[in-house]
Symmetry: C2
Subunit: 203 residues, 2 copies
DNA sequence: GTTGACACATACCGACTGGTCTGTATTCTA
DNA sequence: TAGAATACAGACCAGTCGGTATGTGTCAAC
């Protein structure tokens, strides 16, 4: 038997997790292949099933350990202490859009949105864990708007919850549009309209 | 061999097409099974491969002959001659939302959006034909806004293309949100914010 | 030095996949 | 009415799927 040069369970697990994220991102969960994942991770089925209980369990781990932190870091954290959510949302959106268009990230869309659309009707556990991430995002946005109102940056009559629900949905839709149209300009155009909307909320 | 009581190729083809639509709608294209489709259509592989060149060809046919007409009828046609797009969009959205929440249509989301999210990065022909539908929708909305401006119902400084890109993306996003959260109230909440936005475009 | 838990590797399994092939009944055409 | 074209039916195929069983090398504890 070919011997393992070095033993590093954390490393192996991480490689599998990362390869799984990429595979599911590109091919979806159902279309994703465990064989390709272990090949890409330069390991074997034995290792995969040693670290994870099966395909679904691997999927949950990808959501929990890869997508969730990545998403929080990119979308929630920058808004965590904002008292001027309109300005900050615009800035965040602009820099994210620029980066996504820059590298080819536009092609495959948002990993969170992809998994959510595919898996939420098929598996309740997937749906719940993905919805939790969306919910957290909505709460972050809503909280920022509430602070914005207090700080006098946002009109007093706006409902943070309502606005947050809309903004989050709109962002997801814009990412989907970009992915389907492969047209960065279209997304920027929709983005301008979103900015116009945000500006109407200013006090 | 079991004999076919009556021969009706159109009927058979239609049954396969409808069963395929349902199957892909519920399980996605990759997750959809031809075996289940022929079973549901009460026919056989022979019939399926007689009428279609394969799974992909069947998928294209579903988009062209089922999703596209359905979509046009439900979203584009009601706006075709509108000169007051804000009022009409609100009405369309309200009645579509009510119906979707009424039956369980919320669960599986929008067929167009589902296929688009899953297949556009995997198959260029899928992407193009789906993008065409979205493009037509955007054009319908933009044209309605252009007429609305002429009719004095919409502010003169709004850009129909920009607004249309945003509205279409937002609608898609809201459908996706509803599907993932399984929460009709959340969609209605986002809908109210969309209405608020639309109202800011009134002259 | 021995033992036992861990971390894999490999061969393999049954189920199911999309797709093909052949046969046959039906219908259209001449 | 003969024959070609159409419209299936059903068995079958190779390949892939997720998952398992077993074996073996590694490593820490005693």
């Amino acid at each position: 038997m070919k011997t393992t040069a070095i033993r590093s369970p954390e490393n192996t697990r991480g490689r599998i997790l990362h390869a799984a994220f990429e595979e599911f991102y590109k091919n979806g969960f159902q279309g994703g292949s465990l064989n390709r994942i272990v090949e890409e991770a330069r390991t074997t089925k034995g290792a995969l099933f040693h670290h994870f209980d099966g395909k679904k369990d691997l999927g949950y781990a990808v959501v929990r350990e890869v997508i969730d932190p990545q998403f929080k870091q990119q979308w929630s954290d920058p808004l965590a202490n904002s008292t001027d959510p309109i300005t900050d949302l615009k800035r965040i959106f602009r820099q994210r859009a620029k980066r996504e268009i820059g590298n080819g990230g536009l092609v495959n869309g948002c990993p969170l949105n992809n998994l959510a659309q595919e898996m939420s009707p098929l598996d309740e556990k997937f749906r719940k864990s993905l919805d939790k991430i969306y919910g957290a995002w909505r709460e972050t946005v809503a909280a920022a708007f509430a602070r914005g109102i207090k700080a006098g940056k946002v009109r007093k009559d706006v409902s943070p919850g309502k606005v947050a629900a809309f903004i989050v949905a709109a962002q997801a839709g814009m990412a989907g549009t970009a992915k389907n149209s492969q047209n960065g300009k279209l997304m920027m155009q929709a983005g301008e309209a979103l900015f116009d909307y945000l500006d109407t909320l200013r006090s």
